[in-house]
Symmetry: C2
Subunit: 244 residues, 2 copies
DNA sequence: CCTACTTTTGACCATTTGGTCAATTATGCG
DNA sequence: CGCATAATTGACCAAATGGTCAAAAGTAGG
């Protein structure tokens, strides 16, 4: 996760035809900010990262709009403003590109859980967690939809990731909630299912936005509506946990 | 909606090539039980309905598993145990078949809301509503997923349905909740958002089953696990509504 | 049996789509 | 400059896919 970028290395050239694809994904994984200890104006791979990011963002939008099967590489290319073979140059295949999108999302998705720790105040921690989830839902609806779409279809690409990454994390978080309950600091809810409910209640604003807007009779949720939604989810769940 | 079936009429034959498609959808719409006032052993269209049902069920499974774009008519045909042109005979196109699946789901989806009426006891009505939604989620996961998938991708097929059918219904239900709140019979929650939360919390068990199973570490939710989930959602939301 | 119909089905087609290639152009470096 | 490597891109291809058709096979009523 924190692995430093492999810098502008010749990227292990084989006959090239086979070598190009592969690890563009790895690039994105640690692309956050290792611009530090490099030489002077390291612009060679700067452009590469920029392109990869452009592509992944375009792909995110297109995959969100049509699903994996419905999205086409041509459409993604158009959305990214690049010729199609270029996508294949950076990400060997449609599937690899899709994976890159999912991987990027997963990291962002797990982050908010950091505030669920035993030493925290239950009410404060949960409220913060829910608010952060709501914020993500409104800020990155496409990412949420790609993720939802993947789960919806049985998670063919990240079933193992769910078991190997999400599950261990959740075990720890669930233990924290259970401890809070044991200490009588909140009502005895089922901690695992509490997370499922929070995920569902928050992400529904990204995933099923059309339905919500159709019912509310608005084209999209403005700032005020987002705040109202957030307030609703926070207070409903906190009260449900006996934390009002 | 209650329109009687057009019985084994010559089904307005034009040059046939163009006539065959069309209204298989209409058939399904009112196919519930008009077996009543017909003549004797009305078996001619009996088989037709059976086939249409078979096809729609197969389509539901396949669409749920791959989305509209990812599903193929060939796959649906195989799942239905019929040759591909047969599907086109009953439902003119892939899109029409998809619509038929969605339409069937919508009816089932709206039904549980019948118990939300002003004269009912809030606690009892809401609990019943939630339980019914949970039951549907476990009983018809494929339908839920097709629906979710459609919403996820912007509801291209049923945006108008949402506005013309779901919205009016919800206006009435929301009014009921608001009345209950005004009468001081439950906590002052945002009634529209309460529905969004209930939908999300219940349908997550169908839509994101893989994620839930991955976290819980089980292959699928057995009866006991389903009961636990249901109990969790019911008590969390009721308490959230001040109805414990 | 015969006529008129609905239904079934194998063979087929035009289009779309993921992916490839080879040729070409940038780019870094000695 | 000149070499090597990375990046770009127009042209292409094989496979998959939604949809069509016409011939064949039921099926009901006269």
């Amino acid at each position: 996760m924190a692995a430093a970028r492999p810098d502008p290395q010749p990227r292990r050239a084989a006959t090239r035809s086979r070598a190009k694809r592969a690890d563009a994904v790895a690039t994105l994984r640690g692309a956050a900010g290792p611009r530090s200890a490099e030489k002077g104006g390291a612009q060679p791979w700067r452009k590469r990262v920029a392109h990869e990011t452009t592509i992944v963002q375009a792909a995110e939008r297109v995959f969100a709009g049509a699903g994996f099967g419905g999205a086409t590489m041509a459409e993604i290319a158009k959305a990214a403003g690049l010729p199609k073979p270029n996508l294949h140059y950076y990400f060997g295949s449609k599937q690899a590109l899709y994976r890159a999108v999912l991987e990027r999302t997963l990291r962002e998705w797990l982050e908010p859980a950091d505030c669920i720790v035993a030493t925290a105040e239950p009410r404060e921690a949960l409220e913060r967690y829910i608010r952060e989830k709501m914020r993500l839902s409104f800020a990155r609806p496409y990412a949420s939809r790609v993720w939802a779409n993947e789960l919806l279809h049985g998670a063919p690409e990240l079933r193992t990731t769910l078991v190997r990454t999400l599950r261990p994390l959740m075990r720890r978080k669930v233990a924290v909630i259970d401890q809070w309950i044991a200490e009588g600091r909140m009502a005895p809810v089922d901690s695992s299912h509490l997370f499922f409910t929070i995920w569902a209640a928050t992400q529904t604003y990204a995933d099923f936005e059309v339905q919500i807007c159709a019912v509310l009779g608005c084209a999209s949720l403005d700032r005020a509506a987002q705040a109202r939604a957030t307030q609703h989810v926070v207070s409903l769940i906190l009260r449900g946990c006996g934390l009002s």
